[in-house]
Subunit: 205 residues, 2 copies
Amino acid sequence: MNAPHFSTKQRILDSAESLFARHGFAGASLRQVTASANVNLAAVNYHFGSKENLINEVFRRRLDSLNEERLAALAEVLKQPRFGLEDVLGAFVRPALALSMAEDGGAGFVRVLARAFAEHNERLRKFLHDNYSHVLKQFATAFAQVLPHLDKQELYWRLDIVSGALTYAMADFGVIKRRPGMSELQHRDLAAEHLIKFAAAGLRT
Amino acid sequence: MNAPHFSTKQRILDSAESLFARHGFAGASLRQVTASANVNLAAVNYHFGSKENLINEVFRRRLDSLNEERLAALAEVLKQPRFGLEDVLGAFVRPALALSMAEDGGAGFVRVLARAFAEHNERLRKFLHDNYSHVLKQFATAFAQVLPHLDKQELYWRLDIVSGALTYAMADFGVIKRRPGMSELQHRDLAAEHLIKFAAAGLRT
DNA sequence: GTCTATATTTGGATAGAC
DNA sequence: GTCTATCCAAATATAGAC
């Protein structure tokens, strides 16, 4: 009859994610994090070594699965004989949107992601590049196929801007309440449609 | 033969703007700011009273004129017998885009603005609301005229999301180098066109 | 693996001389 | 208006008992 066990590490990650979303990486202190997680201050350094590494692990926990889902969705799209810009965008947007509307705190993480874009932090960019650049690469290849008129350099900066704007928008979408009489799924699909149309306009022309 | 005189206050504001853009409000310390401005540490509290108030003044210095320009551009639009969504968006986007491409450090400020959106900081939101809510209000009225199918609540959250995404995109546009053989003005107009199309897609439907 | 206690650094703010 | 010196709070990190 015990409550399910949540490890100290898990609780630290949950609290850190939530506090980083609300106050930023520099703005949230380890004291706030450990207090909110009901663990001892020293636990962070024991489990993660440093605040910097804790930040990395907050990203890794969600990005490993999020990016797997994105790549799986992209693989499905690529199987189709004819696919368009909206299909590729869907593979990028839908998994993140699902996360931003999840019950388990995923909404907080998307806001952390949005912060990471706004920060342009060198150290963080390096970590993300080291661990997930293959995802960006595969998407860039797919985008190049459906946007053949853009040269490589132009494509890259547009993707950078559009993914940032999209992430920002998704971070806010998590907060939007759905219309009464609309199912969770309908709400998500409608949001995805809007976002995809939004992003497509930023990439085409 | 003296170099033009820049006051201590000006230099502090310049340095603060640049450092807030790069490291965030919590991430940039007053020691960094004063060192970069070549002024004494105590000067910040003498001239501004507190770090919090320094942040406010960094915003005020640019937003007063930026928002004036936006309102003037909007007034021009409203004079026209028939105007559309793109016209209203242009009045919002073009002055900010000009700032983001200015020589005098305005690019840094647009990145500070983007951070403010990502932060969702309560105190900062209150300051911006207290000082500039009349601008948002006038634009919201104009947007309501060209988007009559959206109810008030829906319009408001869309404006919030779109203006955040736009600001994020503009912050990055400042860094984009223009194509060789394209004038400064052509480059800016092209960027504005893209951004307006981008935002229009997020608002229509 | 978790705690208390503490070392060390850094940051915001102020007092008081000039 | 500007400087030096300093106070005090808060932060990261670690040492060592349990």
